[in-house]
Amino acid sequence: MDANELLNWARGPGFDIALVIFIGGMLLRLLEVLALGKKPDLSAPRGSGLSGGLRTIFSRFLPRKQVFDKEPLRIVNAYVMHLGFFVVLFFYGPHIPLFESVLGFGWPALPSGAINAVGAVTILSIVAALIFRMNSKVLRFLTTTGDYVAWLVTLLPVLTGYLAYNHMLLPYTLMLALHILSVELLMVVAPFTKLTHMFSFVTARWYQGFKAGQRGVES
């Protein structure tokens, strides 16, 4: 199989398989969660669970001062990593038609040069995340193999995308094929690692926020 064939496989059957596993896997994980059910809170409510749940889904995007002051660099790096990943994923010109083909609508792209710079920063922040992890007593203690797997499959798409765009290291076609394959690896692995947080953070925040809203307490 040469680079062109690999690229074709990655763009065709490879992507379809990955998409099925990603969507099916995430739905399965969601079902595993929801099937466990939750008893209603019978205590007399002070406030609205609905508004508490919605509020917490958004309020937790910002850190409380008390933890930010303890770990400012790590928290800023986490923002850079997440936002950088979103920008290169959703606003790089050639990515948008792919979303359009699945979703049925598109949106304007950012200039490629800007995306390239954001990509470089994102790669650095993902590497920095690993350095932070290895240098913190608490994080070293908590880290599992799954954390390293999740780290690697997050880094690879951004790294190969950057290398392909800049025609570095390998011939463009081969690097592009590897880029798409690395995205597919991420899609296949995500439902079975902590990367499920990309969706489950909504339910987690909702559950805590709902309870807090009903009880009239902060969350």
Partner: protein
Amino acid sequence: MSAPTVEKGIQAIKGQIDATVASYFSSCVHCGLCAEACLFYTETGDPRYTPINKVEPMKRIWQSEYTLLGRAKKMLGLSKPVDEQTFTDWETLVYDGCSLCGRCSLVCPVGNDISDMIRKIREGFAAAGHAPEGLIGASTRAVEIGSPMGVKLPAVQAQIGHLKKDTGLDAPLDVQGADYMVLLSSMEIMNFPEYMEAIARIMKQAGKTWTISSKAFEATNSGIQIGVSDIARVLVKRVVDAAEELGVKTVISPECGHAFTAIRWDGPNLIGRPYKFEVKHILEVLDEFVEQGLIRTEGKDDQKLTYHDPCQIARKGGVVKQPRNLLNRIASNFVEMEDGGAMNWCCSGGGGVSANERADELKMTAFKKKKSQLDALGVDTLVTACANCRLTLEEGLEEYEMDLPVVGLTEMLAEYLVEDKKEQA
């Protein structure tokens, strides 16, 4: 009760795993920020006290029972099992190293209610026979005698007798249809009789009828702390039966943190139905009385004082404004502690820690957080609204040779009632 076993522990933990727990474990990215919110970590520097690590056994059970990949791993013998050794290793993290203060739950970026998970996992530890002796003793006394400290009705009656003799005020037992049924904590009966006197004065001035039930005067609930819902249910049911029998409108939870959590929030869920009466914390009631002009105060304490928010009353109970309204009315130099309100630091003795002698040394280490907060403020008096916080604070202040009186807010308010001033004059 049949003998506890590891199998029962695992079953009990499985029984606690619901959609919320599964959501929380699915969302944890091992960022470790919860450690920074936990005084057992910040004061010891030991990463084992990272809140999310305390529920690791529950995570293993969730993975191997309720996820596809985990079940596959279990079949292939690749998963880490939860066994006797796991319970032994985690017991001190789950009970000694957590006061269920809930601060971790408020900082988790993905929104995990870690404190709630620790409360849940305790069910498994108790069922597996890995609960601390101190809590087992307190729970047994609560069920058999009626109070975790072994306080019986005659002790309450004796206190009522003293109250009548010293002040001429009454604390009436078993009054049908009273406006309020007042609960007490054992500590208030044994260590802080000022509380009952304060209630009697305040109720008299407010013109409200009140009563203490001879069948259910104890507010504390060791079942909640040890994590045995069956015991918690028995203790809550006592209060509910007594209140509904007397037909009172409102039950007042005393200056005790977890008692409020037990009767206000957990209670209806334990007995499986809403109550026919309201539950309010004493500070909520006092604030209402003041707002409605039912009680009037005169004069202000001019000492520099601060307020320690009991976790279960502020962070988990939402009673944050009320103590401040009250204090500003009766104190001219009230200053906030750093992180005061919903993000307060625990006294280090909540959630059953203070009833667990094995945890004494760890508790005093964790107390350093409160010590540093108090050192930074340099106050003359420390006010709080939880008898358990109060004892823990007094113990910690003594241990670190800090000369600082600790007072309950209800009794402090009673000192500034207008009528009292007239009577004294």
